[in-house]
């Protein structure tokens, strides 16, 4: 027996819009039944990547397979297996929620009896059955999001794409969407894009960090965090408002052997605390040498979080970009 195909295989995908290189050769695979996040700032190329994987737009070069089906040559097979919730809520604003949903069910070829039953159940699940004859414009942003989500589920897709599912939602609505995604894990492979670290950290099995059209890191949230450990970030808390003065002092501590500053990235967070990085823990002695013990409250190590990982990796890739 051949092993089941990966839910997604993307190989060296590129896409240009005129002079803008939206994707510069992105590759990754997604295991069936997992939640995979594409994490990146605005303009990173997340939506472009999803449009290509969902057959809306063609890559310039590269290949991709959804459950083994080629996105370029087997579009109908791919489309039968996917559901997508796009970044903005797209509805037919002249039709009721009910008719928006039935239209999509018809396009998937479901028999009337079956889809009416299914839509009713899904609407009840998201507490919107009573609003089924409303127009989309009469629903709140969070409600519209829920309708978009169930619209993508009517045909029981095997692979579900969510483009920034919670951007612009209030915390309450966001929590609801998170809960829905967590429940969906059992039935579908989920690919979501986000620029919220917290979201990627909480929901995903694996994360692809995307920056300026390039994959700059991939792994489980834990692996990505470990990649930065031993965390080389420290926090210095002072009893006096001298953070800026000490930042200047620490900036001038030079390693006598290499002539480079011992401390990188010294940032006064406020008057009383500053954050800095150093590659070698033994350098911390230098800090203590330069700080008046009576000013010092605490010197501690900061745990890496996904945001640090992301910032440090994207900074590195941006610097390389500029250098080349």
């Amino acid at each position: 027996m051949t092993p089941p195909a990966k839910a997604i295989e993307a190989l060296q995908i590129t896409k240009n819009y005129g002079k803008i290189q939206a994707l510069k050769g992105v590759s990754f695979t997604v295991e069936t039944g997992s939640v995979f996040s594409i994490l990146g700032p605005n303009g990173a190329g997340k939506t472009t990547l999803l449009k290509i994987l969902t057959t809306i737009s063609n890559p310039d070069t590269g290949k991709a397979f959804i459950e083994g089906f080629n996105i370029l040559t087997q579009t109908l097979e791919v489309r039968q297996r996917i559901g997508i919730v796009s970044q903005d809520n797209h509805f037919d604003r002249y039709l009721s929620i009910w008719h928006n949903l039935t239209l999509h069910a018809q396009m998937h070829g479901l028999p009337k009896k079956e889809y009416e039953h299914r839509i009713t159940a899904l609407l009840k699940q998201v507490d919107l059955y009573d609003r089924r004859f409303s127009l989309a414009d009469d629903l709140s942003g969070g409600m519209q999001r829920r309708v978009s989500l169930i619209r993508a589920l009517i045909h029981n897709p095997r692979v579900l794409f969510l483009d920034e599912p919670t951007t612009g939602l209030d915390p309450q609505a966001r929590a609801e969407i998170w809960e829905m995604i967590e429940n969906l894990k059992q039935t579908a492979t989920i690919i979501l894009t986000t620029h919220y670290m917290e979201e990627a950290d909480r929901l995903s099995d694996r994360i692809l960090l995307l920056n300026q059209g390039q994959g700059v890191g991939i792994g489980t949230p834990r692996e990505l965090k470990l990649a930065l450990t031993p965390s080389n970030k420290y926090e210095l808390a002072l009893g006096v408002p001298k953070a800026k003065d000490y930042a200047t002092v620490l900036q001038q501590v030079i390693n006598p052997l290499t002539d480079v500053p011992v401390f990188e990235e010294i940032i006064p967070l406020n008057d009383f605390t500053l954050e800095f990085q150093t590659a070698k823990p033994e350098n911390l002695k230098e800090v203590l040498r330069h700080i008046d013990p009576s000013d010092l409250i605490r010197l501690g190590k900061l745990e890496a979080n996904l945001e640090d990982v992301f910032l440090s990796i994207t900074k590195r890739s941006n610097a390389q970009e500029r250098a080349s």
Partner: protein
């Protein structure tokens, strides 16, 4: 391969549903243009124009007003429908991830526009029947529709092409004013085309709108069809259908 059940029909049904959402406003909008002309030309000028081509002016004018409504509505439904779905509501992208083809989508939209246009023509016909001393020879309805079918396909297709190409809503109105309206008014809607100077008459007779208005009137009043008009209309309907489908498929695969 076309998919009627999953692609064409659901989209066709959607266009009709959209239209029926605000049917009172739609009906009033539909009636506004032909009734204004009817009042201005038919009643206002009645004393000055007695018979045209052997029939009272009102009788001469009425078939053209019905055809005018059908063509304007075909253009409007096609253009705004596509504009809404492609640029405003962005629904086209939602349809495209369904297991259907872009041809299914555009054909559904075209058939929808075509049906809406014919339906609105029927409404205007009813209203004119009540207002004017026109008696319809029902047996001539067949020949008349033989022209109106391809005509409304032609104008729906022109509309869908405009709605597919132009991102800004004012452009749709501009095309209507600059291209569609002159084409419609030149086709013998208000006066017999023989009134045109002999130098431009040959051009006029080959306009599809002449086939619609001049030909349509003759068909409705006497049941008479000509080969030239039939050919012009059915060929341009076929051509525009092919062009609209091609353009849509092209634009969406960019």
């Amino acid at each position: 391969m076309l998919n009627f059940k999953q692609g064409i029909f659901p989209l066709y049904q959607k266009v009709l549903r959209q239209e029926s959402q605000s049917w009172i406003a739609e009906t009033l909008t539909t009636l506004a243009v032909p009734l204004s002309f009817f009042l201005a030309f038919g009643l206002g000028l009645r004393g000055y124009i007695s018979n045209v081509n052997g029939v009272p002016y009102l009788v001469f004018l009425a078939p053209g007003l019905i055809s005018l409504t059908i063509m304007l509505e075909a253009y409007r439904t096609g253009a705004w429908g596509l504009w809404l779905d492609r640029w405003y509501q962005k629904m086209i992208n939602e349809y495209r991830i369904k297991p259907i083809t872009t041809s299914d989508i555009i054909i559904g939209e075209i058939l929808g526009g075509f049906t809406v246009a014919l339906f609105k023509g029927a409404i205007v016909t009813l209203v004119l029947l009540i207002l004017a001393p026109v008696s319809v020879h029902w047996k001539y309805l067949g020949p008349y529709l033989f022209y109106m079918f391809p005509g409304s396909i032609l104008f729906t297709c022109i509309g869908t092409m405009v709605g597919t190409m132009f991102r800004k809503p004012d452009q749709i109105a501009q095309i209507q004013t600059i291209v569609i309206t002159p084409l419609l008014y030149l086709g013998g809607l208000f006066f017999p085309i023989q009134a045109f100077p002999a130098s431009i008459l040959p051009i006029i007779t080959w306009l599809p709108t002449t086939a619609l208005f001049d030909g349509g009137r003759e068909a409705l009043l006497s049941g008479h069809l000509t080969i030239q008009y039939s050919l012009i209309l059915w060929l341009s309907a076929g051509l525009s259908f092919w062009a609209a489908t091609l353009l849509f498929n092209r634009k969406l695969s960019e």
